[in-house]
Symmetry: C2
Subunit: 365 residues, 2 copies
């Protein structure tokens, strides 16, 4: 930054004269000490109402605003909540819907609690990891989105934990660990989805799952299995006895589209598909349509996420709603209030999911 400091406290930035007002000047004008100015602005300690007014007035006439950097420096904290987003291409795997909802939820709460939101976009290589953000003390805590259950990721999370850096995972569970987590009940969501198909009279229900490194994929499989077994049916399974009932994609639309071809070969053994997210469901519907098989007419489909996209497909897609906004908001709230010691340090929460019925399962029932 091209700037010059003058002796009288003014600063020239880019040819413009900036007057940076500090506490000192407010104190002088109000005829009090600097400490008193701080007290007024932080609302601490007892003080005479008159003094307070005098300070506030002085601050107003001088247009004083406390310098956040100096405050944070003195308080030995950054005032930032970091939010880690996975490497960009993955955004196309998850829906952008997922991120914008969670981010909005986090953003609202963070502001409410007087923090700022630092966005950390991961790079593809990312040798230096998010722990550096803590080391440099740029963030006081962080929320990690799109974490995967891989050895590398787990190692990094453990390092964070050992370093005593507060963090929280959203929509991802690590079995056997006690990380802070805010998750949704994907097992129940999937159970509801499959029950709905069963209620519609479907019996031969295939499951198109997403990548197994996300815990929610496992949860969904569990819910699918449970519903099938309760109905006395043999569920599909990775490597199980019913290979025509289990398929796997990576949550992208393209992977759903590709699955269509495989699924089509078994079309006479299938009357419904439950897809682990809307994007795959949409790709699947497209692929099968091209092969002459129409969702809602030739087979029933249920998606997952209840994203905006579910409303715009033809036919509109029945889907499982996940409270992403609330998950973000809750994660931020828990994390930040634990920093203040206002809440227990550890938490693991699971929010409820529900089914939103549209027309992709046909009109029978």
């Amino acid at each position: 930054m091209l700037q010059v400091w003058l002796e009288d406290g003014r600063t020239i930035i880019e040819g413009r004269v900036q007057v940076i007002v500090t506490r000192k000047e407010v104190a002088e004008l109000a005829g009090v000490s600097e400490a008193t100015v701080s007290r007024v602005f932080n609302g601490v300690g007892p003080m005479k109402e008159e003094t307070k007014q005098r300070v506030l007035e002085a601050a107003k006439t001088l247009n004083y605003h406390p310098n956040a950097i100096a405050q944070n420096f003195a308080r030995r904290r950054s005032g930032n909540l970091g939010v880690v987003l996975p490497y960009v291409p993955k955004v196309h795997l998850f829906s952008t819907y997922f991120f914008s909802e969670i981010l909005s939820g986090i953003g609202a709460k963070v502001k409410e609690m007087g923090y700022d939101l630092l966005l950390l976009l991961r790079s593809p290589d990312e040798e230096s990891d998010y722990i550096d953000m803590f080391r440099a003390q740029k963030v006081d805590a962080c929320i990690i989105l799109g974490a995967t259950d891989t050895p590398r990721e787990l190692e990094q999370l453990k390092a964070l934990e050992e370093g005593g850096h507060p963090f929280c995972l959203v929509n991802q569970h690590f079995e056997g660990e006690r990380f802070n987590e805010v998750d949704a009940d994907h097992q129940k969501g999937s159970y509801l989805a499959v029950r709905h198909l069963l209620d519609k009279g479907c019996r031969r229900i295939a499951f198109l799952n997403g990548s197994p490194q996300f815990s929610s994929s496992g949860d969904r499989l569990e819910g699918y299995r449970q519903a099938m077994r309760e109905a006395g049916l043999e569920p599909g399974d990775p490597g199980g006895s019913q290979p025509h009932l289990y398929y796997e994609g990576n949550y992208s639309r393209t992977s759903g589209y590709r699955a269509a071809a495989r699924l089509f070969e078994h079309r006479y053994e299938i009357d419904a598909v439950f897809a682990a997210n809307d994007r795959m469901a949409i790709g699947l519907m497209q692929g099968l349509r091209e092969l002459g098989w129409e969702a809602g007419r030739d087979f029933a489909v249920v998606g997952y996420d209840n994203s905006d996209a579910a409303r715009v497909t033809d036919p509109p897609l029945t889907s499982v709603a996940v409270p992403f906004y609330e998950m973000g908001s809750l994660a931020a709230e828990r994390l930040l209030s634990s920093l203040n010691g206002e809440a227990p340090a550890a938490f693991q929460t699971k929010l409820d999911t529900e089914l939103v019925v549209r027309q992709s399962c046909g009109k029978r029932s």
Copy 2:
């Protein structure tokens, strides 16, 4: 934050002992002064290779990381680039696609240039505006997304300018002002879209525009008009002589859906529609389908944005691609390098758009 400082420099946070290593300790271990440690880490001034190595080694054994807050405090800057997002509900007007692309572009460049990204989600009320971020010196510059051409917004932007706070608008132009801007050539994009429809043999081309407070809406109207006039046709116009050829929505899918009913009344005077974004195009196609009018069969459609959604409609939607990622990246680059005085302070750039042809205009031609 529940923490206690010990006399030996250690800190207890949430019951954990944190050792905060400072420059001082590195200096002691390396047997040099603190200033030398700084020089090594900032790579300034000449220094003996051996000294440098000694310092780096000491830093490594102590696991030293410079404290970013202290650095920024001393440098009198925040090291943050702020990104202002409009109030959440608007996210549903724009596509989330728009934001995730731009944000990714900004994020990549910001990291590359050694800054951090502070996300500023606007509140609905938002009495206190983004100028406070500058006053509190939380950001060194900011990028404003989703700005509207309204008196209130303009006033705020002028205040920023007068305060000497560097900012940049993306995808929004203010006629008569010299704000920093990175825009796309929406007039050309629209021209291409309409030319394509003309080339397909369409003559009676309606235009479904978005909210007029965005400059891009005006640009699109211009492009539409230009193409129509060049073809010797009378374009639709707000309040013009051809009311059946001009419609207005607010960029949401729902507004496109609603426009379908109005448009349907004029179906015998229309053989194509150019929609100002994909979401409205999709809503429109849905609405008209429900009325028995099929895109690609009964009429041609072109959308705008080339969002993910354009690929998943039926039929796939011909659309205008806008380089959102590049726009974000460029805005960040220009803004940040102007801070360093490495680039001229003011810039106004317009990036190119192009047409992506799919099947929504039928197969004739």
